[in-house]
Amino acid sequence: MALQGSDIDKLAVLARLKIDNEIKQEVAEKISDILSMIDQMQAVDTSAVLPMANPHDATQRLRADVISETNQREAFQAIAPQTEDGLYLVPKVID
């Protein structure tokens, strides 16, 4: 599957990445190479195979509903780029 620059644009928006125009074509080509390598998978008929999401086919363990965490806002916000009055700040959000 050969990707175009426009495909890269679309993916970059989804992934919130900025891919500069100068390198877009190169990025598209390299990803296309990787996708052709990946496409080897298509040669195998897997219609009768169940997808496997986890190596052990295990099931989820449940946690007792007991409070185990205490307020550590100060420690967490000490490493935050921008906070005020206990809130994380971001540029104004418009819905």
């Binding site: 099931t59 989820q60 965490e69 994380y88």
Partner: protein, 484 residues
């Protein structure tokens, strides 16, 4: 052209757990910003989710309550999108394999008919944080306390055809989830929020029209308003030859303005895939059976029981038995007063009116069920009249004590001493010769009406405390004596 409205609802119910769905942080409402957001909730690097048993339990309870299939294996997926109140950059939710499969909820329509609303499924997911748009020098503030709060998202089939049906369904659902104790139902705190999918089509048309989704409505009133407004808008657009855009809309209940979202979620490609940090949730039959045994009485059963036990109409029983709190209140009043009819009248009448006018809910009613029961007892034993009872009710509401102490303190006891009453009646009759003449001149049928001319002054003279039955009796006797 006749239009038909088609409505489907998505309801987000916050589950009443102690901790978040994937972390051990508390979920109490109203805490200082970000004080209840632990490393997992903040999506700190390397942190991992572990599923809360209580969230699973409450979801299964809901499934049992709506007679749904409980999926023996359900899967959490990641819904990928960037937004500052979603700290991981994805929401952990369920998509293809939800915990609760198809079920149904019955509602009672205004015309007395029943309607079944099918539930498509219900799934567990985590709530997002909150964006605070007050001005922080042109910035938005993010509070992640709510991030990770367990939600049950309940999705209906598009089975409702009016805002009234949607509201009836929402009320019924509220009643179910609060009855089984999985959600506190406090809509003002966002514990229960509605997304409404609305479309219209020409009556008789098979296929559905294009729908819009109005998100995050947190009261029945707003829901009703938003639906009505959206239906009108869609019909207007279509009748003008336009088309409906499939979009997400917002409705502001305060300004009564609705608008499409300006969101950048262009393609809305959420790239769902199974969350590799969580494994499939397996639910054993034993677990379901044990939970089934703990299910409390459900609203439908309660309504039926109350209707039968107290000989009430289905309509009344629906009001009195629909909500667990109301039902318990009613049963207490009814039991302590020994009169279900009067209890029902007072609840649906005076009490409801007063609560409404003061924007209060039954939980914060200043008049307790025991107090109302005590008041009704005094009406029944003729200690007070209905008229005086309202005065006593008001005093109880104001916190002046229970019925007996109010009656005592204010001297509101009904006058039942016949000699005293006879003296008063005599005085009134003597002072109104014209009315007496009129009365005696009238035929039997009209006489009854004319008694009012005497009752008013008598009640005035007794400050309303005269036992109306006795006054009536004495008055008739005395007037008849005049005739001879």
């Amino acid at each position: 052209m006749e239009w038909e409205t088609v409505i489907g609802l998505e309801i987000h119910a916050q589950l009443t757990t102690q901790t978040k769905i994937f972390s051990g942080a508390p979920i109490a409402f109203g805490a200082e910003p970000n004080t209840q957001a632990c490393a997992v909730d903040l999506a700190m690097p390397g942190t991992l989710p572990v599923l809360n048993e209580a969230a699973v339990r409450k979801a299964v309870l809901f499934g049992l309550a709506i007679d749904a299939d409980i999926n023996r294996s359900s899967v959490f997926e990641r819904k990928n999108y960037f937004y500052p109140d979603s700290p991981k950059g994805y929401q952990t939710s369920q998509m293809d394999e939800p915990i609760v499969g198809p079920g149904h909820v019955d509602i009672l329509l205004d015309n007395g008919e029943h309607k079944t609303i099918r539930i498509h499924h219900a799934h567990l997911e985590e709530d997002a944080g909150k964006s605070l748009h007050e001005d922080f020098h042109g910035s938005t503030g993010i509070d992640l306390n709510r991030a990770g709060t367990p939600l049950l998202e309940i999705v209906t089939e598009p089975d409702m055809n009016s805002s009234a049906e949607a509201v009836a369904f929402a009320r019924k659902l509220h009643s179910i989830i609060t009855s089984i104790g999985i959600c506190d139902g406090k809509m003002s705190q966002g514990s229960m929020r509605f997304d409404v999918n609305v479309s219209v089509r020409i009556k008789g048309q098979e296929e559905l029209g294009t729908r819009t989704e109005t998100k995050n409505l947190n009261s029945y009133r707003f829901m009703e308003e938003a639906i009505k407004m959206e239906v009108e808008r869609q019909i207007e657009v279509l009748e003008d030859g336009g088309t409906i855009a499939q979009e997400t809309r917002l409705y502001n209940g305060d300004t009564k303005v609705a608008r499409g979202m300006r969101s950048k979620e262009e393609a809305n490609d959420y790239r769902y895939f199974p969350c590799p940090d969580l494994l499939p949730v397996a639910i054993e039959d034993d677990y379901i059976d044990a939970l089934r045994g703990t299910l409390p009485e459900l609203p439908d059963a309660r309504i039926q029981r109350i209707a039968a036990a107290h000989d009430l109409s289905e309509y009344d029983a629906n009001i009195l038995g629909g909500e667990a709190g109301m039902a318990a209140y009613f049963e207490t009043v009814s039991h302590s007063s020994g009169d279900a009819k009067l209890a029902a009248n007072w609840l649906m009448g005076e009490l409801s009116a007063r609560l409404n006018s003061e924007d209060k809910t039954l939980e914060d009613s200043p008049v307790s069920a025991e107090q109302l029961g005590g008041l009704i007892l005094r009406i029944k034993d003729n200690t007070i009249s209905n008229q005086i009872a309202k005065q006593v009710f008001d005093a109880i509401w104001q916190g002046e004590g229970d019925a007996d102490s109010v009656i005592e303190a204010k001297g509101l006891k009904q006058m039942s001493d016949s000699s005293e009453l006879e003296a008063i009646v005599d005085t009134v009759i003597a002072s109104r010769p014209q009315e007496v003449e009129n009365f005696l001149g009238a035929d039997e049928k009209k006489r009854k009406k004319m008694l009012g001319a005497f009752m008013g002054p008598i009640m005035q003279a007794t400050k309303g405390q005269a036992n109306p039955g006795m006054v009536n009796q004495i008055l008739l006797k005395k007037l008849n004596e005049q005739q001879s």
